[in-house]
């Protein structure tokens, strides 16, 4: 019961934070510097790990698909399988998980520290709402940066699959054939669906992490607990949202 109450409280406070943040949306142009800084942290600094991870996810996807599909002579369809998997599912989910691990945890740690060391209280005392100054630039930045990360993840994953498909002895599919099949069976709508999913996940992850960070109570030990909780909740949120968003978009 206590757990359920805690979950419901978390839902409620997150929604309240969302509403409060939207109410300050008009102040975003004045927070241009913070917005740019968050874009840099969320997007630019996450790019290398997104690229590396998506390359190898695409590669291993092609490898596994080639190994499985060679048994029934369908390995020429690897291109479409890797393309659709990366664009519709793995790209967005992987970007969201990286965001949760790399950006979400950092946001929670930062906001939890500010809360624990009463910096948030100081802001409120100065009549500066934390939702406006701390949450709004992050949410705006994630909305702008996540699609970019997702499209890069898709493309790098496709190329990773193409390289593996060409240089693996039991697959040996030329990149032209790989991309030809990929193009034949994919529509831009598939990529768009993936971007919408990534956007939803990224927005949810940052919102949840901000909320957990701002609601941290206690001493420095609670900061670590808040970060752990934020990452766990973010991962669960990603996978739960993934099912429903996919269902809606199909």
């Amino acid at each position: 019961m206590k757990q359920l109450n805690s979950i419901l409280e978390g839902f409620g406070s997150t929604l309240q934070l969302l509403v409060r943040t939207f109410s300050y949306i008009g102040s975003l142009p004045r927070q241009r510097a913070r917005f740019i800084e968050q874009c840099y942290l969320i997007g630019y600094t996450t790019l290398p790990i997104v690229a590396i991870l998506s390359f190898f996810i695409g590669a291993v996807l092609a490898l596994q698909a080639g190994y499985s599909m060679q048994n029934f002579g369908a390995k020429q369809f690897i291109g479409s399988l890797v393309g659709l998997s990366m664009a519709r599912e793995l790209g967005p989910v992987m970007v969201a998980i990286l965001l949760a691990g790399r950006v979400g945890s950092a946001i929670t740690a930062e906001l939890a520290s500010m809360k624990v060391y009463q910096e948030v209280d100081a802001l409120e005392t100065m009549n500066i709402p934390p939702a406006r100054m701390l949450v709004l630039p992050r949410l705006a930045a994630v909305l702008v940066m996540v699609p970019v990360l997702a499209i890069i993840a898709d493309l790098v994953g496709w190329f990773g699959g193409a390289i593996v498909a060409k240089y693996t002895s039991f697959i040996s599919i030329e990149p032209e054939a790989y991309f030809s099949v990929l193009r034949r069976y994919m529509k831009f709508q598939d990529v768009m669906n993936g971007l919408i999913k990534a956007e939803t996940f990224g927005f949810g992850v940052v919102l949840v992490c901000c909320n957990i960070g701002l609601n941290t109570r206690g001493g420095p030990r609670e900061i670590g607990a808040a970060v752990t909780r934020a990452v766990v909740v973010s991962l669960i949120l990603i996978l739960v949202l993934d099912y429903f968003v996919t269902k809606i978009l199909l």
Binding site: I36, C39, P147, V148, L155, M186
Partner: protein, 330 residues
């Protein structure tokens, strides 16, 4: 890092994202945003089978467009085809749903149509024809399998019997059992015959084993062939003659097919008959010559006299000979 650098990097990153999105869109959508979108055609089918939006439209194997939309229109299904602007489709060209693979990949195949036919305009309806899909083929194979099973069942019944009467094998077995003695005798006889043949005994054995007989036979066959060849030539000649006769050429042809000639011949025969009748009756000079003995007797007497006169000639000179002849004759 100062704010300006950070801003520049974020801006560059964002532009990179937009560019990649644009490239992806151009690649996957065929870059149709600012290009000439071509024109649409409507193709009506009884069923679109596995055809779906985005599938290719090919003419003679070349991609010329894609299926833009699929919809139900009354009692039929329609596919709206987006055709490239530079692809002209003849008004008598026909579209069909072609199966590209066994895993449900289909495309619209359009034939070239007639060379001089007018091209179809935007929004026009293209003629279609039905092609068998995989389900139809599988159904046909299923029916074939059932027929094959029925035929094999009937064959099995024939061989093994249907429970009431014995099958072919039982009947054969009964025949062999009942006639085992005869079969044995027949086999013995056959063995004897083949032994004799092998030894060259008897006519057939000699024929098989004796090379001289074989050569003679070959020679006889050659002779027969030659004769047959000659007969063939003869028949050819005869056919030629018959053909000539039929065409009324030559004496025989004229005789057979010329009516004037036939009439003349008829008249001639009538005349001959008249002459012969007169001859028989002794009429006329020739008739009397044949029928009157007096002329014969007179001639005989004359010849006798001449004979005597000639005998006298041998004994007398030439002047007296003339007198003797004259005397003998007159």
């Amino acid at each position: 890092m100062n704010n300006a650098q950070q801003t520049a990097r974020v801006g560059l990153f964002f532009i990179l994202g937009l560019a990649l999105t644009w490239v992806t869109f151009e690649t996957l959508s065929g870059g149709t945003l600012f290009k000439n979108k071509g024109y649409t055609l409507v193709a009506g089918f009884e069923s679109l089978k596995e055809l779906k939006e985005g599938d290719e439209v090919r003419m003679a194997g070349v991609k010329i467009g894609s299926v833009e939309k699929t919809r139900l229109a009354g009692r039929r299904a329609e596919a709206v085809l987006r055709i490239d602007a530079d692809a002209k489709i003849a008004s008598d060209a026909t579209a069909s749903i072609v199966m590209a693979g066994l895993i449900g990949t289909n495309y619209i195949g359009i034939d070239l149509g007639t060379a001089g036919a007018a091209p179809l305009a935007d929004g026009a309806e293209i003629q279609t024809r039905v092609t068998p899909d995989i389900n139809t083929i599988m159904t046909e194979i299923g029916n074939l399998g059932q027929k094959l099973e029925g035929a094999l069942s009937a064959f099995g019944t024939t061989l093994n019997g249907d429970g009431k009467g014995g099958g072919l094998f039982q009947k054969l077995d009964k025949i062999v059992t009942d006639n085992s003695d005869r079969v044995s005798t027949t086999m013995t006889n056959l063995q004897e015959i083949t032994t004799k043949l092998n030894k060259g005994e008897g006519t057939l054995g000699k024929l098989i084993n004796d090379p001289a007989l074989h050569d003679e036979l070959i020679a006889a066959v050659a002779e027969i062939k030659s004769t047959a060849s000659q007969a063939k030539g003869f028949i050819t000649d005869a056919q030629g003659i018959i053909a000539q006769v039929k065409s009324g050429q030559g004496a025989l042809g004229t005789l057979v097919y010329d009516e004037t000639m036939a009439n003349n011949l008829r008249v001639t025969v009538t005349n001959i008959r008249s002459v012969s009748d007169k001859l028989a009756k002794g009429e006329g000079t020739l008739g009397k010559l044949i029928n009157d003995d007096t002329l014969y007797n007179t001639a005989q007497s004359t010849l006798k006299k001449a004979d005597r006169a000639l005998d006298g000639l041998g004994d007398s000179g030439p002047i007296t000979a003339v007198g003797i002849v004259a005397n003998s004759l007159f």
